[in-house]
């Protein structure tokens, strides 16, 4: 009895499928089909002003293209590369916000692994965007320097940032009669004045580690203004982390970490630091230009300025802003939603939308028609002629180098354990040399 029942059910199911298939073929084709429903999966990193902009942009995009639903995931910046790799591998994402399309291996570097973006391209996971009409909206140099690999374009870069400047609290400077520092000595004096008045000199997101050492990249830049030459010198041995120039840098980094940073900075998360500075309690905040909108959002009436880190006693050495090409959009090569993904990039690249984006995030634009109309834009404009790509964008550590082979202020107390610049300089050079020797 039951066997008969199964047989009947099987026949019914098979007939239903057959009729459904026939029915599909029978759909009239003379009428244009309704736009296919698409869910576009977008991955971005956590940067509150950027996320707020993207949410607004997505809303407008969905209104314009009602068949497309944008499913945007936000992850911590430290996790972006991990999530990108896993989601691209699983073909579970369409459009990704990708950092650092740089750090290509140089001829003088031996046995280095290619950076992760290059690994993703070599594995065929990123779409070739060459020839897409929206590329014309961007600076050719930005497309070339921060989006092109082996003659093909894989990323549209969304802007440059500087990370070697210091935000300063204009009201506190005026109230304490402190002149905006242009040399290292003036900076030290300014900090002493503030500390004497019971005002913490600087704050930064020490809990995440990198905001402390990135905050001191300006100090590194004032000692070594040509950062590409610095990296080559370190690899070839003509520059050492314990030579006379570097020792000056370490001594100043110790002052920066030990005396200039406020007590408790080691517990502040990176994205909480702008709010701490905007509270008006701290005189200065070394950090990247991307923090500008977050400071404004936290306290719109707060008055601040932005200067290059005065790491040298020669004011002429302190006129440079060091930075990098920041985030850009890439598309998954195997996306099933190619048209929607390219439409998304086309809309984003529209000059009006792009202007709104750079206004929101404070980037130095990579579209020639965009204006530096933000507060941070006005602050960096005088230094743009002196904008230089920073150390972080050139450096790849040799395999075998130790964990101290970097110019990081976080090695010093209270963030680390070191309190003697000379000893630390020798340790850093020793860790680097061990790697250089290992790959000879």
């Amino acid at each position: 009895m039951s066997k008969k029942l199964y047989l009947v059910l099987t026949i019914v199911v098979a007939l239903s499928m057959l009729l459904t298939a026939c029915g599909a073929k029978a759909t009239p084709t003379s009428q244009p089909p309704a736009a296919e429903k698409v869910t576009l999966r977008v991955l971005v990193h956590q940067n509150p002003p950027m996320v707020a902009f993207m949410e607004e942009f997505n809303k407008k995009f969905q209104e314009k293209y009602p068949n497309i639903t944008v499913d945007m995931a936000v992850v911590n910046a430290n996790e972006l590369s991990t999530v990108t790799q896993t989601r691209l591998t699983a073909n579970d994402v369409d459009v990704v916000d990708m950092f650092g399309f740089a750090n290509g291996a140089q001829p003088y570097m031996k046995q280095v692994d290619p950076p992760n973006w290059q690994q993703l391209i070599d594995a065929g996971l990123l779409m070739d965007l060459t020839g897409q009409p929206f590329l014309k909206n961007y600076d050719a140099s930005a497309i070339q320097d921060a989006g092109t690999y082996n003659g093909k374009v894989y990323e549209i870069n969304l802007g440059r940032v500087s990370y070697s400047g210091i935000y300063y609290n204009k009201d506190l400077f005026t109230a304490n009669n402190v002149k905006v520092p242009t040399t290292w000595t003036e900076l030290v004096t300014a900090c002493e004045t503030f500390k004497t008045a019971g005002i913490p000199c600087m704050t930064a997101g020490g809990k995440d580690g990198w905001p402390i050492f990135v905050g001191a990249y300006g100090l590194l830049g004032s000692i070594y203004p040509d950062q590409a030459a610095l990296v080559e010198g370190l690899w070839t041995g003509s520059i050492k982390w314990n030579d006379a120039n570097s020792l000056v840098m370490w001594e100043r980094m110790q002052v920066y970490a030990r005396d200039m940073m406020e007590e408790g900075a080691s517990g502040i998360a990176g994205d909480a630091a702008p709010g701490r500075f905007a509270s008006g309690a701290v005189a200065m905040f070394p950090g990247g230009t991307w923090y500008g909108p977050a400071i404004d959002a936290a306290q719109p009436a707060f008055k601040w300025g932005y200067i290059p880190f005065p790491g040298s006693d020669n004011a002429d050495d302190n006129k440079y802003l060091f930075g990098k090409y920041d985030q850009g959009w890439v598309v998954a090569a195997k996306t099933p939603n190619k048209d929607a993904a390219l439409l998304y990039l086309t809309e984003f690249s529209d000059p009006a939308n792009y202007q709104a984006f750079v206004d929101a995030v404070g980037f130095i634009p990579t579209q020639p028609t965009a204006k530096l109309s933000t507060g941070i834009g006005a602050e960096v404009a005088p230094y743009l002629a002196n904008f230089r790509v920073g150390y972080e964008q050139y450096w790849i550590a040799p395999k075998g180098a130790g964990q101290f082979a970097n110019p990081w202020a976080t090695y010093f107390k209270p963030f680390g354990t070191d309190d003697d610049p000379k000893t630390l300089a020798d340790k850093v050079q020793g860790d680097l040399q061990a790697g250089l020797n290992a790959v000879k």
């Binding site: 590369s81 790799q85 070599d122 809990k207 990198w210 964990q403 976080t410």
Partner: protein, 308 residues
């Protein structure tokens, strides 16, 4: 011949019933473990479609013998053992103590059992966030309390050994509930007559513990020690959430994660090195295997001695 499950096809029913479990074990546990072993001899990046080359022992040589990085790796290995020692001993001792307390016929004991077990339910991310907020140096509860004595709460972002000690403490807080529950289950299997007999014989509390409780807790002791050792050797999530990749704090488990997913340099542009990370995983596996088997051997001998 006596067949428990009868003759004919029913004889195979236990094996058929076991099959899903065995298949699940092969797919979820054994398969990836074998794949990791193979990966450790390659330059795999973990990226689908990327070329994978056989590199022999190169990953192991780099991990153990190449430059200062290998010395840093060995330091991480040493730190893993330190972490394991403190977590295992303190968690074991505290778990036993708390289990004995909440095993008493006290008012509200179910509430306290739940309270001590609760961190387990939270998961590593929430556990980490709770403590990050609690220790927040600018206005967090701990900072406010320490400020009364003129002290500061720069623990997780401060000197590496301080941050490391806090991760030990938080790991113990997070997992002590499991140790407690296992001991509690063990304590409840000890017949009350034995305690009564000991008391009638005039035994003091210490004698009751050492001659009755402790020997009869042997299965729980063995389980807890093994779980604590293996769990602490493999720990990495709390390191990621509480302190991230910082010099002087990495343990092997976190080093593997950071290497495999390109986070070692602190740069957002480092490489994915899952073949290399797989070799570190195998080294960690060998460490767990040696320590786990040695502990098991010692515990089994002890159990046999007690049963004699």
């Amino acid at each position: 011949m006596n067949y428990h499950f009868g003759r004919g096809w029913t004889r195979w029913s236990p094996y058929l019933l076991l099959l899903p479990g065995i298949l699940f074990y092969f797919v979820i546990a054994l398969g990836p473990s074998l794949a990791t072993t193979v990966y450790s001899f390659t330059d795999a990046t973990g990226i689908k479609g990327a070329t994978v080359n056989w590199v022999g022992l190169a990953n192991y040589k780099e991990f153990l013998l190449m430059g200062q990085a290998s010395k840093d790796n060995l330091s991480a290995l040493g730190r893993t053992l330190v972490f394991c020692f403190f977590v295992t001993t303190i968690q074991f001792g505290l778990g036993l103590l708390v289990a004995m307390i909440v095993n008493q016929n006290l008012k509200g004991r179910n509430f306290f059992r739940t309270l001590y077990f609760m961190p387990i339910i939270l998961g590593a991310v929430i556990q980490g966030l709770v403590w990050s907020l609690f220790l927040y140096p600018l206005g967090g509860p701990m900072a406010k309390f320490l400020a009364l004595f003129g002290a500061r709460s720069e623990f997780l972002g401060g000197p590496p050994f301080v941050a490391f000690a806090w991760v030990i403490a938080i790991q113990i807080w997070a997992n002590m509930g499991t140790t407690m529950i296992i001991f509690l289950a063990g304590l409840q299997t000890i017949p009350s007559e034995l305690y009564e007999a000991a008391r009638i014989d005039g035994a003091n509390p210490w004698q009751v513990f050492s001659n009755v409780t402790w020997p009869l807790l042997t299965p729980s002791v063995n389980t807890n020690l093994t779980l604590n050792i293996i769990g602490s050797l493999q720990a990495w999530q709390l390191f990621l959430i509480l302190i991230g990749y910082r010099n002087g704090t990495q343990v092997l488990g976190y080093l593997i994660y950071a290497t495999g997913f390109g986070q070692t340099s602190g740069s957002v542009t480092s490489s994915f090195r899952q073949g290399y990370a797989a070799s570190a995983s195998i080294i960690l596996f060998l460490l767990v295997l040696v320590l786990g088997m040695t502990t098991n051997y010692i515990l089994q001998r002890r159990e046999a001695r007690i049963m004699e």
